[in-house]
Symmetry: C2
Subunit: 245 residues, 2 copies
Amino acid sequence: MSTLTRKQREIRQREAYLLDVARKMLMEHGFSGLSMDRLAEATEYSKGTVYQHFSTKEDLVAALAVQSIEYRRELFERALTFDGRPRERMFAIGVADEVFSRLHPQYYKAEMVIRLANLQDRADVQRRKLLQQRDRDCGGWVREIVQAAVAAGDLELRGPWTPEGLASAIFAIAVGTHLGLIHCEPLFEDGPALSPSSLKRESVSMMLDGFGWRPLYTEWDYDATRVRVMESIFPDEWDRIQDEG
Amino acid sequence: MSTLTRKQREIRQREAYLLDVARKMLMEHGFSGLSMDRLAEATEYSKGTVYQHFSTKEDLVAALAVQSIEYRRELFERALTFDGRPRERMFAIGVADEVFSRLHPQYYKAEMVIRLANLQDRADVQRRKLLQQRDRDCGGWVREIVQAAVAAGDLELRGPWTPEGLASAIFAIAVGTHLGLIHCEPLFEDGPALSPSSLKRESVSMMLDGFGWRPLYTEWDYDATRVRVMESIFPDEWDRIQDEG
DNA sequence: GACGATTTTCGACGATCCGTCGATAATTGC
DNA sequence: GCAATTATCGACGGATCGTCGAAAATCGTC
């Protein structure tokens, strides 16, 4: 039993190590630059061993995505504990997303690469289910906050809008903005005045103001909310972000 | 001279044919399913000939992106001829983007592949420059419309917002929303009530309302504007879109 | 039309990568 | 201590990428 557990620990540790090295390769040279042969060589394991962890290259990338998504899910879950009006709680989710993207920009990029890779047929079913489940967890929480806002009378959805639609729109802004990080050539000659994180925060805020979601960005000090969220929920991460720049 | 031109025409025609077949392969089997060997075989040219058109596989994909992006630029340019208040003209750009995304859904995929897979080193410099130039053309036009709105008094930019920032936010929504098309697994169990194009249009409109950009979505019949843009500027494309579904 | 020069086309070739599989080494159960 | 099971290894087949020298076609000139 004890030996078995040690062996299992070894395997877990090795898998984490493989994923670390693989992630670096993915970041440096993109999906095509990530090679099972080179991964085996770099980690000094054989290909056969690597393939016992990941059945295909796509499955390896899916495992990277699972790591990424589980970490983000954890941050979102912590953000949910923030107390306040629905729009403040939504703001807290945004802060969690900011923390995630700034502490793990490579995770964010890897996620983009993964979503574009056609891995639906090649990655293991279990991992794909897990990915979808975690995605829907995060999406569901955002939707619930929207619904709470409607229930509280802070927000009124008109026309074709549904809670799911609004949640999708918020995610679209987040994804689209962070994609700018990867954008090799900037859209405008002089770089953006706002950082991607600020741009995302401001864009979502403007859109939610367009919905009339109370309290509006103009009638509430959300900078103070951000500081409260950071200090009360993400103190360690906040320190690390500020250390890095 | 005449022979030379004929030869050049042959080459042009062949390149277009190669790109057509390559585009089909890319759409059917994804980036990894697009193979230079199979392209050569399918077109009944040799690999050497294919490689005289495209120096690498990534360059081939970049050429596909150039085709699409030039088409999009053309649609944007036509949308610019629409007459009206700045926000209507911005809306016309949105309609152009909708036309483009529905007639060329594979564009976003090709562009994402190029931007994410570190292809910038592998595609030809000239093609990369062209891509960037066309991008900036479109971005510049959007920025100019924003500036026109500010000048006309229809829009007031507060806080950290600049015309470039607002333009970036609009593009972020567009890209992020269309990325949902690629997303293999939907975020919510019941598919989105809105189509991606509608979601994008509504999201941008809500955000611009948040900015207080007159005339607001609620105080103007933008559905009528959309019909006017479609009928006056994109009649043929509009027919094709409606034929397809 | 003939013939050498230049360009174009071709496909075989080396290198790389993916995923497999039988052989070998390590671990477990008894 | 020994057999059975499991883990590890790396050579192998199939496929792909990009190259390169040979063959074919085209061009320029007489």
